[in-house]
């Protein structure tokens, strides 16, 4: 279970650290005025400062026991968290597998795993859907629109 407050804090820290990264990184480009006009780093520097300050305000608001937060104590229940993970974790593994297995194999395995392992569909039906997905991708992208999707290191090793 994740409370609304914890989520607000985590997001504010996330946006704030992005802001700090922007500020630090923009200093390399120079901020201020030079002979060529406004330096390249000035605008990003200012937006970085705005992000940091805004995130701090959101952070403080998240810490203070404000009325808004008290009325919705829970942001994500444990059941919801499990469902979220059920979508996000396989998706992340899928994306991580693309450089190795290639888009077609990875997406077919992904569909198969998501449908068959939690027993949403029978294994034969999941197999058919996985095959159809890879085939549809191949026909639409490789054939119709001539966009080459990554074939993966594995396919390269096998000589495709």
């Amino acid at each position: 279970m994740i409370s609304r407050r914890a989520l607000e804090l985590a997001t504010a820290v996330l946006t704030g650290s992005f802001g700090v990264a922007v500020v630090v990184s923009s200093l390399d480009n120079g901020i201020g005025w030079s002979s060529a006009g406004v330096d390249a780093g000035t605008f990003p520097f200012l937006t970085g400062i705005v992000i940091v300050v805004g995130s701090l305000v959101n952070l403080v608001r998240g810490v203070l026991p404000a009325v808004t937060l008290a009325s919705v104590p829970t942001a994500i229940t444990s059941i919801e968290l499990r469902r979220l993970a059920g979508l996000l974790v396989p998706a992340a593994i899928f994306v991580a597998a693309i450089p190795l297995a290639g888009m077609y194999v990875a997406s077919a395995l992904y569909v198969l795993a998501v449908l068959a392992i939690p027993r949403h569909q029978s294994v034969p039906r999941a197999l058919v859907m996985a095959g159809a997905t890879a085939l549809a991708l191949y026909v639409v992208f490789e054939r119709m629109f001539q966009v080459s999707l990554p074939h993966g290191a594995l396919a390269a090793a096998l000589g495709f």
Partner: protein, 512 residues
């Protein structure tokens, strides 16, 4: 009456067989993304974008804008039949649309929704027809300071009128600007904000951001609540369709009021979602039958639908004539315009007459095509909703992954897309607005360039933003909008010193 002659010329471009076919394809794809939860108009349009690179700009924009109309209609179908808004902007339609359909009048609810939506869209297009070229003419005289002032006003109006928490809007905007700055700086040629990742030199494409923020983000929100699509009957009784549309003129006041709200919220970047909520709220307050809202009132369907479509349509006005999109989807389309080599803004009306008037004429035709197609296909798409979500979700993930990859054949884009997905989920969950973020990514560069060119003109003095009446008005208006939330807060505190302002979570809206 130059406009009418131009419009007729536009019709001669839009009403050709290939373009009518594109409209039909666009509308059907649009209804599809509108119906499917987790896919919406902004990322539907951005998914289609890479496929339009080889097309004529006018054909491409007709395809994309038709998809937009289709998505707006498709969102209402699921709202009414399933009580599941397919689009954020059709949330308000569920309040009265679903109760009416549940009480055995699904055809009436659908026909009323489509009829008023078409009316709203029509008012929006008429507004564009007569106002857009005039605005563009005024804008032709704009220099960099004026442009920066207009951008500033647009961004400030998100903060002042967006409806989300002002600080969160400011943070979302600033993050968008920072993302827009990543890559090669167009003025000095130096590389900015890559943070050590060489591949980021090409910048972050707004398409990747939109796919993650809206596609994966919305999917994560949708997966949380395991919904069961239990539809009311989706059979269409055609006689009832005509009867329901025939009854619409009786609600003329509500129609006109909602269209006015929609057009206003579309031109100022409030967006369709805010427009439909505002219109519903105002209708409930002013209608004599306001107490009955929420139980299947006709005006409870008319008001949000008319405003939603009026806003969606008129959001293209500032995009065409000023180069400032009025909604997230319009921002994506504007990104497309730039990729096709067109420069959105007043020069379009001089250089690209065929494009502009072909698009405007296609809006008239496209909306008629959309109404007809959506009525014909309601049963088909309603059947689609019966496919379990666990089957649809991985397919949408794959579509987004492939879509992000195909933008520039880069694996990094896919990883970033997933990252944007998590950010989109967090932002939606905590009511950070996404539309300003997307808008800032698309036009952040232009706003910055306008600012730096102004500074070059004035040799570093901010006085250039107060040099003439027009610029001063725009800048002062922007500052006023920025300060508006603060002033309101202070006024509330001053009036009721004892009890602090109570914002119920119900008032928190996700503004797209």
């Amino acid at each position: 009456m130059d406009n009418l002659a131009d419009l007729l010329h536009g019709f001669s471009i839009a009403v050709t067989m290939p373009h009518l076919a594109l409209m039909a394809v666009g509308v059907l794809l649009g209804i599809l993304v509108g119906v499917l939860p987790g896919l919406g108009a902004p990322n539907g349009v951005s998914l289609l974008l890479p496929l339009t690179f080889g097309m004529q700009p006018v054909s491409a924009i007709i395809l994309l804008s038709s998809m937009y109309w289709g998505a707006l209609f498709g969102g209402s179908v699921t709202s009414i039949l399933f009580n599941i808004p397919g689009e954020p902007s059709s949330v308000a339609t569920t309040f009265d649309g679903y109760p009416m359909a549940r009480d055995g009048r699904p055809t009436t609810a659908l026909a009323t929704a489509f009829g008023s939506a078409a009316f709203g869209a029509l008012i929006g297009v008429i507004l564009i027809t007569f106002l857009a070229s005039w605005v563009a003419q005024v804008a032709l005289a704009f220099g960099p300071p004026e442009y920066f002032a207009v951008y500033f006003l647009a961004f400030a109006s998100f903060v002042g009128m967006g409806g989300a928490a002002p600080i969160k809007t400011v943070v979302a905007l600033a993050i968008g600007f920072a993302i827009a700055a990543i890559g090669i700086d167009t003025v000095s040629g130096s590389v900015r904000l890559t943070m050590g990742v060489d591949e980021l030199v090409k910048g972050v494409s707004f398409v990747v951001a939109v796919m993650g923020l809206f596609g994966i983000g919305e999917l994560l929100v949708a997966v949380e609540e395991e919904f069961h699509a239990r539809a009311v009957s989706s059979k269409i009784d055609w006689r009832e369709v005509f009867r329901a549309v025939g009854r619409l003129p009786r609600h003329g006041v509500a129609l006109l009021r909602s269209a006015a709200i929609g057009c206003w919220m579309g031109i100022t970047p409030g967006g369709p979602t805010a427009a439909s909520f505002m219109s519903y709220g105002i209708a409930r307050r002013f209608s004599r039958r306001g107490r009955l809202f929420g139980t299947g009132e006709i005006e409870g369907i008319i008001s949000p639908e008319t405003a939603d479509h009026a806003a969606g349509t008129s959001a293209l006005l500032p995009m065409l004539s000023l180069g400032i999109p009025g909604s997230a989807t319009a921002a994506v389309m504007m990104g497309g315009l730039m990729i096709w080599g067109l420069n959105p803004g007043p020069m379009l009306f001089v250089d690209q007459k065929d494009f502009v008037w072909g698009l405007i004429a296609s809006m008239y035709v496209g909306n008629i095509v959309a109404v007809a197609l959506v009525l014909l296909t309601v049963p088909v798409f309603a059947a689609l909703m019966r496919i379990p979500f666990v089957v649809i979700a991985p397919l949408i993930v794959i579509i987004c992954v492939v879509g992000a990859y195909s933008v520039s054949n880069s694996y990094l884009d896919v990883v970033m897309m997933l990252g944007f997905g998590v950010v989109g989920y967090l932002f939606k969950k905590l009511f950070y607005p996404l539309a300003p973020l997307v808008l800032a990514i698309v036009i952040g560069d232009k706003a910055e360039d306008a600012f730096r060119q102004s500074m070059l003109l004035s040799k570093g003095s901010l006085g250039i933003f107060f040099a003439n009446k027009l610029v001063t008005c725009l800048i002062v208006g922007g500052i006023a909008l920025l300060l508006l939330p603060l002033v309101l807060q202070l006024a509330r505190l001053w009036r009721k010193p004892a009890s602090p302002a109570i914002d119920t979570p119900a008032q928190e809206k996700v503004i797209i």
